[in-house]
């Protein structure tokens, strides 16, 4: 399908660097929204600040481009004021897990009926490549010139522990799976969190021996391991290497949700 009807074509060309993974996630999202049969008038896209957060600016529906880290708080207000609106949040690892971490866990705890899609490039992309809370230990960034010494957040683990109804992780390599996960999230009442690992050739790949766009996609492909398989390996007492990315549906449940019209 083509997305011309969903895109603000007059805003193109977009600001993303050639080979950026964010476009893939926007595509998957629009595809999922389209599959849901949602109308443009009933959707609001909300975002904070970052390359990832620029996404709503390119989509024709109503949108709220807010302050860094606060998208979920703003989205909560929208949903509580008008539960008939379908509210989707685009965010980045910095936006969601650094400056906005508190809103993230409380959104999950309240299980507010939002779909939150995080484009996790493991870096502050927009400001030029400083280390974020998901920068892997040892990875280089402009604020960790000899490698990050801090542990990275497991965003999905955090969402699941904090109470989100639906949690899934894929990468920009897993286009079909990611689309399906977003679609499932959109249809699921309560807080749905989908983490999409994406390449940032400009500010992450370039500094971390993943120079070509394809290098990082290859990396995602070769390092992804399905949650069920990881579970089996654990049961068999096999060790899962630290650098593996566990993908798939990581939580789905039916806790009472906020912001759903009875």
């Amino acid at each position: 399908m083509t997305f011309d009807e969903w895109l603000r074509v007059d805003r193109l060309p977009h600001i993303y660097c050639a080979g950026c993974g964010n476009g893939t996630v926007i595509n998957c999202t629009l595809s999922a929204v389209d599959q849901m049969g949602w109308k443009k008038e009933e959707i609001v896209f909300v975002s904070g600040i970052g390359c990832s957060s620029r996404a709503p600016g390119y989509i024709v529906t109503d949108s709220l481009h807010t302050t860094h880290g606060r998208a979920i708080a703003f989205a909560t207000g929208i949903k509580m004021a008008n539960p008939d609106l379908k509210v989707v949040v685009f965010t980045g690892d910095g936006d969601l897990a650094a400056i906005g971490g508190n809103h993230f866990i409380h959104g999950c705890r309240r299980n507010i009926d939002l779909t939150v899609i995080c484009m996790n490039n493991m870096i502050y992309g927009m400001t030029g490549g400083q280390g974020s809370p998901t920068t892997p230990r040892g990875a280089l960034s402009t604020t960790t010139p000899y490698g990050s010494s801090e542990a990275a957040f497991d965003l999905c683990g955090l969402a699941a522990a904090a109470g989100a109804n639906y949690v899934a992780r894929y990468t920009s390599y897993h286009v079909k799976e990611l689309t399906l996960a977003i679609r499932t999230g959109l249809g699921n009442p309560g807080f749905s969190f989908i983490e999409a690992l994406v390449q940032c050739p400009t500010n992450y790949g370039r500094r971390n021996k993943l120079r070509q766009v394809s290098d990082q996609i290859e990396y995602f492909k070769s390092h992804a391991i399905l949650a069920q398989k990881a579970e089996r390996m654990r049961e068999e007492g096999k060790k899962i290497p630290d650098d593996m990315i566990i993908i798939g549906e990581l939580a789905r449940r039916n806790r009472p949700a906020l912001g759903v019209r009875k």
Binding site: I49, M126, T127, G128, P145
Partner: protein
């Protein structure tokens, strides 16, 4: 030694020479190059500091406050939205009298989002109890950091300080800058001597509840310290001038003002453009001068009165607006000149990075002479329709 340096790097290098023990900052355009350079220096052990990659500006300034309370010299840098997020902690730093020094790389406030320069961010923290110094060029931006630490940490002052300089216009511009040597920096700025700090052997509590019978006295004490800084800043600036030859002895700096009929008042990098415009107007026979404010807090009321005593008209260039009133600088100047016959006109200018050229300054002066002012300069009428 003169080096051609980016403004951010000149500031980062000076901050390194000020020897902070703890640096905590969150990246934000156009401040990032400063903290990236400092992160490099820490990683390379060229400065002996802890660099904390905090998760927000709120945490950055909170960590700085904590580190200062523990007895360390601290540093942070931010701008615009980042400074807005620090609002609560800013008042706490001043209230607990911690001499934190922070660079503000001036940028407009959202919404709408803008990464470009004006001075709304720091001006909006006018009442927070922080000293505010403004730099005209990269040399001054670099040098004011030494002076800011000296004054902030002076036991007669003990207040936090902003060193403000214009985003992109200075931060991302290369200029020749004369850097102090390590030895010079050490001789000018001695190690931090906390007035009081967290010490298990001598316990003390900061920031406790003040009931109505105490609160006002705390605020009064901060105000007194601010007023005290009116003489401490020139003292520290004079010593700097004597040691290194660059003159920061005044809270203000006058340019060709002695016989002027019309004076422009401005802060920051715009003063460079104004000086050039004044030279051209002077060549054309117009008696125009500039009063540059280096300190905005404390406000140099006496210096302003003295410097402007001989002029008939003052045109204030405000890169900020107290919406519903006027530009913050014009309000101060009017207050300082209250009761005189001098006309003070306000020009809100260069918001959100709109360029100001020499001919704009000439137009402002012509308007002021015609008595037309208190306006937004250079509005695009076609956009307003």
């Amino acid at each position: 030694m003169l080096e051609i340096m980016e403004g951010s790097h000149a500031v980062a290098k000076s901050v390194g020479l000020c020897r902070p023990g703890v640096i905590a900052a969150y990246p934000i355009t156009p401040q990032t190059h400063i903290v990236e350079a400092l992160a490099d220096m820490v990683a390379d052990c060229s400065i002996d500091a802890e660099y904390i990659t905090v998760e927000s500006e709120f945490s950055a300034l909170s960590a700085c406050l904590g580190a200062s309370a523990a007895g360390s010299r601290v540093y942070s840098a931010t701008t615009s939205q980042g400074l807005a997020l620090m609002f609560e902690v800013c008042f706490n730093c001043a209230g607990m009298r911690f001499p934190v020094v922070m660079s503000i790389v001036n940028r407009a406030m959202g919404a709408p989002l803008s990464i470009w320069n004006d001075q709304q961010d720091s001006i909006s923290l006018r009442d927070s109890g922080w000293l505010q110094l403004y730099a005209e060029d990269n040399q001054e931006a670099a040098d004011l950091h030494y002076i800011a630490y000296r004054v902030a940490e002076d036991h007669r002052v003990l207040l936090p300080a902003f060193v403000c300089f214009d985003g992109f216009i200075l931060s991302h511009t290369y200029e020749p800058v004369d850097m102090l040597t390590r030895k010079q920096a050490e001789s000018y700025l001695p190690p931090f001597k906390p007035y009081h700090r967290l010490d298990a052997a001598d316990p003390i509590s900061f920031g406790l509840f003040a009931a109505p019978d105490y609160y006002m006295e705390f605020r009064y004490a901060i105000d007194q310290a601010m007023k005290q800084a009116r003489s401490i800043i020139p003292e520290a600036g004079t010593e700097f001038s004597e040691m290194f030859g660059r003159d920061y002895s005044g809270l203000t700096e006058a340019y060709r003002i002695d016989d002027a009929d019309c004076a422009i008042v401005a802060m920051g990098s715009i003063c460079g453009t104004v000086k050039d415009a004044i030279d051209e107007m002077r060549n054309a026979g117009k008696k125009v001068g500039l009063l540059k404010l280096r300190a905005f807090r404390p406000f140099p009321e006496k210096e302003v009165q003295k410097a402007l005593a001989g002029v008939s008209t003052v045109a204030v260039l405000d890169k900020n607006i107290s919406l519903g009133s006027k530009g913050a600088v014009a309000l101060e100047i009017r207050d300082a000149l209250y009761g005189s016959q001098i006309t003070v006109l306000d020009y809100i200018i260069a918001l959100g990075g709109r360029d100001v050229r020499k001919k704009d300054i000439a137009t402002v002066v012509a308007s002021a002479e015609a008595g037309v002012g208190d306006l937004f300069y250079g509005l695009r009428e076609e956009v307003l329709k």
